[in-house]
């Protein structure tokens, strides 16, 4: 396979010229990219970056302080807004932590329904992130195609729980609504229509020569750096490390499904470059489709919610529980103190550590490569700032 990238432009390798003047450019917080309010202070001499300092906090809404003032059962709508593109995972992480502390057992049908909606949400989130990466690089068509597919998933979610973006679907002890035959048929019809579209998308953009040249060998993150900086999710797997919370610390009913976890191999360039991180997400979409099919075929009958008191009081204890969200591991550290409100809730997200690696990896990149790098990291602003 021919190696693409900047291998034939070695004589133009970026050097930091000591006699040129440096200038500080401000990128953001309002900018034509779709990753939310992020701000970078770029110290550059025109085209080559000497330092890119991220400046976060433009969407800090104070979730952790709000959690100390809200009872357990009413905090669930807030957890949707931690990461609005993958709202089900926020719900899931929070109710897992509360159920672990209060020792509530969830019925089987509810667990399978949770897996179905979570995997559908993972597909929706990856559609936006890969489409936004293509849009940032300059290709406008894939994004519009993917928005059209995402509308179908929005329709399914609206049939299940009534909302398009912020679902508020899970409850402590189960889920809030059941699905019937027609919704299950709708999901299967969508999957039959969607799986061939992934191959069409690959023909459109993933194997496109210009796209590969923009992403391969750009911003390589080595395995040592990835573990040192605490990266999680597709960013970590793109560097070749097999770590997925669904396999190493299985929660809910994920141990009953048969699925692979894709990780990067240097598909078109070096191991750990931006193309690896992008292609791992495309492969994960395929795996999620197969998990949804398996879950629909194994769905048991029964209750969808355990009996839980309206004013839930948990005695003094603490625990840490995590789920594998679309952007990596989302963990919740919950401390209870005997009342009906938490004493402390700390939310750990994957985008927070992903932003901290930008300063190190972005030295000697071109300004245009920085855009491709941030797009391949797939950060969303509310996950960083909470």
């Amino acid at each position: 396979m021919e190696r693409s990238g900047n291998a034939d432009l070695k004589h133009l390798k970026p050097q930091i010229a000591p006699f040129r003047e440096e200038m500080i450019l401000n990128m953001g917080p309002q900018h034509p990219s779709t990753h939310g309010v992020l701000n970078f202070l770029i110290v550059t001499d025109g085209e080559v970056i000497h330092q890119a300092l991220p400046n976060v906090g433009y969407l800090h809404r104070g979730f952790e302080k709000l959690a100390e003032q809200t009872p357990y059962t009413t905090f669930i709508p807030y957890t949707d807004r931690i990461d609005y593109l993958a709202a089900m995972f926020g719900n899931h992480a929070y109710v897992l932590a509360v159920e672990k502390l209060a020792e509530i057992e969830v019925p089987g049908r509810a667990e399978f329904l949770r897996v179905i909606v979570c995997e559908l949400n993972r597909i929706a989130s990856h559609l936006i992130s890969t489409g936004a990466l293509a849009l940032d690089i300059g290709a406008t068509t894939p994004f519009v195609h993917w928005i059209r597919e995402r509308e179908c998933i929005n329709d399914i979610m609206e049939a299940i729980c009534g909302a398009r973006l912020t679902y508020n679907y899970m409850r402590i002890g189960g889920v809030s609504r059941d699905i019937n035959e027609s919704i299950a048929d709708q999901i299967l019809k969508f999957l039959d229509h969607f799986e061939p579209m992934i191959d069409e998308y690959n023909r459109l953009i993933s194997f496109n020569e210009i796209f590969i040249k923009r992403l391969a060998n750009v911003a390589v993150i080595s395995q040592i750096d990835a573990v040192n900086f605490g990266l999680v999710g597709p960013n970590l797997r793109g560097s070749g490390i097999e770590m997925d919370i669904r396999k190493i610390m299985p929660y809910s009913v994920y141990d009953r499904f048969d699925f692979d976890v894709p990780f990067g191999e240097g598909f078109k360039g070096t191991l750990g470059d931006s193309y690896d991180r992008y292609f791992v997400r495309i492969l994960e979409i395929k795996e999620s489709c197969s998990i949804v099919r398996q879950a629909l075929s194994k769905l048991p009958k029964g209750n969808i919610k355990a009996k839980v008191k309206r004013k839930l009081k948990i005695k003094e204890n603490e625990c840490y529980s995590s789920v594998e969200s679309a952007r990596g591991e989302m963990g919740m550290y919950l401390v209870s103190d005997g009342t009906d409100k938490p004493y402390r809730l700390k939310i750990k997200t994957g985008s927070f550590t992903a932003m901290s690696i930008v300063e190190k990896v972005s030295q000697r990149l071109m300004v245009a490569d920085l855009i491709a790098f941030i797009g391949s990291l797939d950060v969303v602003a509310p996950e960083i700032d909470r």
Binding site: V56, G57, H60, G62, E64, K65, K100, L101, V227, N228, F229, G230, M243, I248, M249, N317, E318, C319, Y320, S322, E329, G331, Y333, V335, Y343, R344, K346, K348, F352, T353, M355, S356, D385, R386
Partner: protein, 167 residues
């Protein structure tokens, strides 16, 4: 699993540094002396049997009735495939602790967030500045006795409830 880690640490550092092992809760934890945190973490990371190389989380909890701020470290071991929880406490009046950014780079931004929201300063940190709130914010919001200012930069911080004003 955490019992193994506790035994190894007590053998290496002694009972003055590794203070207590709590086993009865859902996640067993080890309480350590705050002055030796850097050396303990360096040992835990590079020990080939334990290999605690993956830093998961660092949180701070404010206990005003005990006059303490407790810091909780969650670290994952890729060799033993288990999570280890370490706890240490600093006083509320002079909250200072040594930074472990030299052991795991991931801890750098977590420590900045704790400095911003709880007011704990970390010695030998490379860039200890506020990260989530504006640079000129007064106070540390996650403390239990935090009070909001009424005005920030000519913007009022409250809004009248229309249902109450039109009654």
């Amino acid at each position: 699993m955490t019992q193994n880690i506790f035994n190894v640490l007590t053998q290496r550092f002694g009972a003055d540094t590794i203070l207590y092992y709590e086993q009865t809760s859902f996640d067993p934890y080890i309480i350590i002396n705050p002055e030796d945190i850097q050396s303990i973490c360096m040992y835990l990371r590079y020990n080939p049997e334990l290999k605690l190389s993956f830093f998961l989380n660092l949180s701070g909890v404010d206990y005003p009735d005990r006059e303490q701020i407790t810091l909780v470290y969650h670290i994952y071991s890729m060799a033993l495939k288990t999570t280890c929880v370490l706890k240490t406490s600093v006083s509320r009046e002079f909250p200072e602790l040594e930074s472990i950014e030299s052991v795991w780079k991931a801890a750098g931004w977590f420590e900045r967030e704790i400095y911003d929201l709880l007011g704990v300063s970390f010695i030998n940190h490379s860039n200890l500045k506020r990260i989530l709130l504006p640079e000129d914010w007064k106070g540390h919001p996650l403390r239990k006795d935090y009070r909001e200012e009424p005005v920030y930069h000519d913007m009022e911080t409250t809004r009248n409830n229309l249902l109450e004003t039109n009654r």
